[in-house]
């Protein structure tokens, strides 16, 4: 098998796929939004609890999809808990660059932590939409959209 493929499905991603973090519905959420890739059937609901200081107090997700999208949602949820929305937006921008191969993750390693695991996605353009689905959903949710997110 090609190394790029193993790189894509590296341990962190496989681990988050098997045991996704914050994988549950949330009753007290302030923001709830669905995100889906209709073509491949990825479908998640993202829950966020944002306080008056614009801090993401809690974040969770639920649904089903491929290993890449599920791991991405899981890593995102772990990273954003306790962060400001401003910070979340910065991560979102950085993440998009990582999965499109526009930045060398090594340069940002201390900043991005586990997000670096998704750099393998850039070798497979068709999987970019899997990786970015949870992030697009988060971005739309906190910026007040009620429209379902679709990355097709």
């Amino acid at each position: 098998m090609e190394n790029e493929f193993r790189e894509l499905y590296q341990d962190i991603i496989m681990d988050h796929n098997r045991s996704p973090r914050n994988f549950h519905k949330m009753k007290e959420a302030t923001h709830v939004l669905d995100g889906q890739n209709p073509l491949c059937g990825d479908h998640y609901t993202l829950y966020l609890k944002v306080n008056d200081d614009q801090i993401i107090e809690d974040i969770s997700f639920y649904g089903s999809g491929c290993a890449i999208s599920k791991a991405s949602a899981s890593v995102m949820s772990a990273m954003l808990k306790g962060q400001s929305i401003e910070k979340a937006d910065q991560f979102f921008k950085l993440f998009q660059k990582i999965v499109k191969g526009e930045v060398d993750p090594a340069e940002y390693l201390d900043k991005i932590g586990k997000l670096a695991a998704f750099s393998g996605v850039s070798e497979f353009p068709i999987r970019v939409k899997c990786a970015t689905l949870p992030w697009h959903t988060m971005h739309k949710a906190v910026h007040g959209s009620n429209e379902k997110v679709s990355t097709e």
């Binding site: 499905y9 491949c40 059937g41 491929c66 497979f124 999987r127 899997c130």
Partner: protein, 416 residues
């Protein structure tokens, strides 16, 4: 076991020549391509490719309007193709064959030209819950426009539609039945004969979506007695962009045109026009001439092989695949009716179809992952998607063995 498998191959595969398909020599990531996405589109033999080249190199011109020699050749080729299609499905006359872009356009044509004329407010159209979107959305659009209602025949666990439930749906408001002949998700063949008979008892016409059946089974429209039949050239060795609507003459005579333009008219004044005869009434504009000629060549190819040989071989290779797949741990196969074609939808436990298809692609195996343009089926099965392997006569037992090996590897790779 090995010897037995070899023997089956010799018995059923005779006359099949894989070498006719240049693309099967391609390598994907250093593996010979294993093309198991035939329900989406099939590969083309060099005979079909050559026919397209020959047409453009020697005969190209517009059809039905030129006095010159090339125009005559193009017209002859195009109309010969129509005749070839008519003969292939045993239509009563060439006039009953309308060339379209594919199955989708053929169904849209019926929804537009027949539906807008005959479907009224309160009428009902019966579909099944297992339709491809192309045999669902045109009817949704029509129903909305006319104030008509759609009724759905449920499918059973074996992946065929439930005849007993169908009977309950029939009533005096039923205007049309439109169902799939062979499922693009389950590969199962529906009890269409009983359905057509019952529908005709009520005086209701039946449309068969034959996109998956015509390429794989001998189909005789007179024997079936269906009123409309739609299929695509590209799923049966032909080029993309050419498909067929078959309809009984009387229905076609009574239908309004589909699109307006050249070719479909008889006499035109500034404010009105009269329509050309069938089938030309439904073929506005310059048609896909090369496509029709390529489709005729594809039919020649299938007829040389014979549909009987093809069907027998596909049945055997599918049985072989199903037996091996069912023996795998953690596999679910959707739709297991005894009457079926070479389409197998499945899921491996804990492996998402998208991940599985990507894994298989790393080994040169082309399968489909997703909802297969049949989201209502997925919803009813409470799954988001499946992986689908679909075979054609050029696939081999060795390819299936290789596929099974890789499925096992994938299960290990993604194991929890």
């Amino acid at each position: 076991m090995e010897v037995l498998e070899k023997k089956r191959q010799i018995n059923y595969g005779e006359g099949i020549n894989r070498d006719d398909f240049p693309i099967l020599l391609e390598t994907i990531r250093n593996h010979p391509v294993v093309y198991f996405d035939n329900a989406a589109t099939t590969q083309k033999p060099k005979q079909v490719i050559d026919a397209l080249v020959k047409y453009y190199e020697h005969d190209n011109a517009n059809v039905h309007r030129a006095i010159h020699q090339l125009g005559e050749r193009a017209t002859a080729g195009f109309e010969k193709a129509r005749n070839k299609v008519a003969e292939f499905i045993n239509a009563h006359s060439d006039k009953e064959i309308i060339f379209t872009r594919g199955t989708t356009e053929a169904i849209n044509l019926v929804a537009t030209s027949w539906g807008r004329k005959f479907v009224e407010s309160g009428d009902e159209i019966i579909l099944s819950e297992m339709e491809h979107h192309s045999n669902l959305i045109p009817w949704q659009l029509l129903a909305k426009e006319r104030g008509a209602h759609l009724r759905f025949i449920p499918f059973k666990e074996d992946g065929t539609i439930d005849y007993n439930e169908f009977i309950k749906l029939m009533n005096k408001n039923t205007k049309l039945i439109a169902i799939t002949h062979m499922s693009n998700v389950f590969g199962t063949i529906n009890p269409f004969k009983k359905i057509i008979r019952t529908a005709h008892d009520w005086g209701v016409p039946v449309l068969l979506d034959a996109a998956q059946s015509v390429p794989h089974l001998p189909v005789d429209v007179q024997q079936l007695d269906c009123d409309f039949l739609a299929f695509s050239g590209h799923k049966m060795l032909g080029p993309t962009g050419i498909g067929v609507l078959y309809a009984k003459t009387q229905l076609l005579e009574n239908m309004d045109p589909y699109q307006g333009g050249g070719e479909m008219i008889n006499t035109v004044w500034l404010e009105k026009a009269t329509w050309n005869e069938i089938p030309h009434k439904f073929e506005a504009g310059t048609p896909n001439i090369a496509g029709a000629i390529g489709l005729a060549e594809a039919i020649d190819y299938l007829q040389d092989l014979t549909m009987e040989t093809l069907t027998l071989y596909e049945q055997d290779i599918t049985t072989y695949a199903l037996e091996k797949m069912m023996a795998l741990d953690g596999i679910t196969i959707y739709g297991q009716a005894p009457e079926r074609g070479g389409v197998v939808s499945f899921n491996l436990e804990n492996v998402h179809p998208h991940d599985l298809a990507h894994f298989l692609d790393q080994h040169g195996i082309a399968v489909r992952a997703g909802h297969h343009c049949a989201q209502p089926i997925m919803r009813k099965l409470e799954i988001a998607s499946t992986t689908r392997a679909s075979f054609y006569f050029y696939n081999t037992y060795e390819e299936i063995d290789y596929f099974i090996d890789k499925l096992q590897e994938a299960a290990k790779f993604f194991a929890f």
